[in-house]
Amino acid sequence: MMSHALRAMNGAHPKIRIRGLRKSFGAKKVLDGVDLDVPAGSSMVVIGGSGSGKSVLIKCILGLIEADAGTIEIDGADVLRMDRRARDAVNARIGMLFQNSALFDSLPVWENVAFGLLAQRRTSRAEARARAGEVLAQVGLDASVGDLSPSELSGGMQKRVGLARAIAAQPEIMFFDEPTTGLDPIMGAVIDGLIVDCVKRLGSTAIAITHDMASARRIGDAAAMLYEGRIVWSGPAGALMESGNPVVDQFTHGRREGPIQMQLRR
């Protein structure tokens, strides 16, 4: 049932290995013992309902939220027990596409894309600008877009710029938080295609969280379902619609009846 099977599939130590991850906010247990393995070079999609803790999971891996217990190993090193400097070094190998793109609205598009290069790599601004143009081209945007402000872009273009920023430093690991939320189906498919292209080209290990089933099947090699703070099912992304797990089946088919009870306030 658990994603240990993926490790067996791959036959190697996973790139990302999570064991017993717990996080509560007050009395509310959001993550209650998450176990997850993501083999190197694979794309894992984590699905789950709104408020199920998908974003919290990614933020714990990135160190944006402090986990209460458990381990998160990246290449065998537990990032939860690293000091800030070591953690920054790990994060420098990770690219992240946020749900709402999270572009810096005080900077032009090209500086957003080249931000990581300018901030840490000490690249000259001219080189960073040229690199931003190259990366924008990889996500299907003209270099002239680099001079615009993020507020001048459509939602789809903002996603592309967010993706360009995530891949600019050629990360080993990439996270995608609800990459198609707020986009029309065609643009969603375009963004998913770009994500798959970028991940394959860079050979990155990816985790995407979504509740868009079409997007999950397009992006993922493997999938896992987060429910009540735990991974209740994992397997190939292609098997999502016929998982045989009643929780996953109810979720993927959008059925009202089933083991998942929606929390409604009356």
Binding site: A92, A102, Q120
Partner: protein
């Protein structure tokens, strides 16, 4: 009995909450300052914050200062004329402006303008995940966002206060010479004789502290804002109100420190 205990409990909770906030503020400010001593340094962010603090606040500070100087001259004249002490007006104007009104009014004006803008900008960055994005790009948000603003506050407000001092005295000079009939040369000589370097430096030291407090409140409330647009609004209000109160409270403490015998 139960109601009385509830009251005591509420006071206790309030006291604990206040201590927690003071501790969090101290840690936040200390962390921000410590990043000023360790590379990398973000000069462009400092320049941007400095221009916002100093250049764009000039008009409002200048107008406030010049009108305040004019009012002090007018009010002092109506009072001092009763005791034939009109010659002291130049001294009253310069001491009031340089020691108190320059730093305090400039501080309050800048708290309303820049402190609010800082809280709103950082608050928006927080609720739209831009601060988290900085972290994922291996950039420490305290170093990138907070430290440059704290430094800009400490440097920019004393410069603004120098301008405010000059214009405040000028305002008093204009009213005294044009409306009240003072001799311009005598007024200027009295002004220079009354003013000491300690008066100017104490005002500038106050301004540096006020600038730090404005930046600290703007950054702290914005950085820790929660809950979307409403949270950003609340952070902005808190930044301005708390900074204004702290400016007045620290003004008393610093005055006691500099001038109490």
């Amino acid at each position: 009995m139960s109601a009385a205990l509830d009251g005591v409990a509420a006071v206790g909770r309030g006291a604990i909450g206040a201590c927690r906030t003071i501790g969090a503020l101290a840690l936040f400010g200390g962390a921000g300052l410590s990043h000023l001593l360790r590379p990398p340094f973000y000069g462009r962010m400092f320049l941007r914050a400095f221009v916002e603090f100093a250049y764009f606040s000039l008009p409002v500070v200048a107008l406030t200062a010049i009108f305040s100087g004019m009012v002090i001259a007018l009010q002092s004249f109506t009072g001092f004329a009763r005791f034939n002490a009109e010659s002291a007006i130049a001294g009253v104007v310069v001491l009031s402006v340089v020691r108190e009104l320059g730093p305090v009014l400039a501080g309050l004006m800048v708290a309303g303008r820049v402190g609010a803008a800082m809280a709103a900008e950082l608050g928006t960055m927080r609720v739209t995940d831009q601060i988290d994005a900085l972290d994922t790009l291996s950039t420490n948000p305290m170093k990138y966002l907070v430290a440059p603003r704290l430094l800009a506050g400490v440097i920019a407000l004393p410069l603004l206060v120098l301008v405010a001092d000059t214009l405040g005295v000028l305002g008093g000079f204009i009213v005294s010479t044009v409306k009240l009939g003072f001799n311009p040369a005598t007024y200027l000589i009295n002004t220079v004789n009354f003013m000491t370097m300690t008066d100017v430096l104490s005002g500038l030291a106050k301004a540096a502290v006020f600038g730090f407090l404005i930046a600290l409140m703007g950054c702290y409330h914005g950085y820790n804002s929660r809950g979307g647009a409403e949270g950003v609004g609340a952070a902005t209000t808190s930044a301005v109100v708390v900074a204004s109160i702290l400016i007045l409270a620290f003004d008393y403490v610093l005055t006691e420190l500099f001038f109490a015998r």
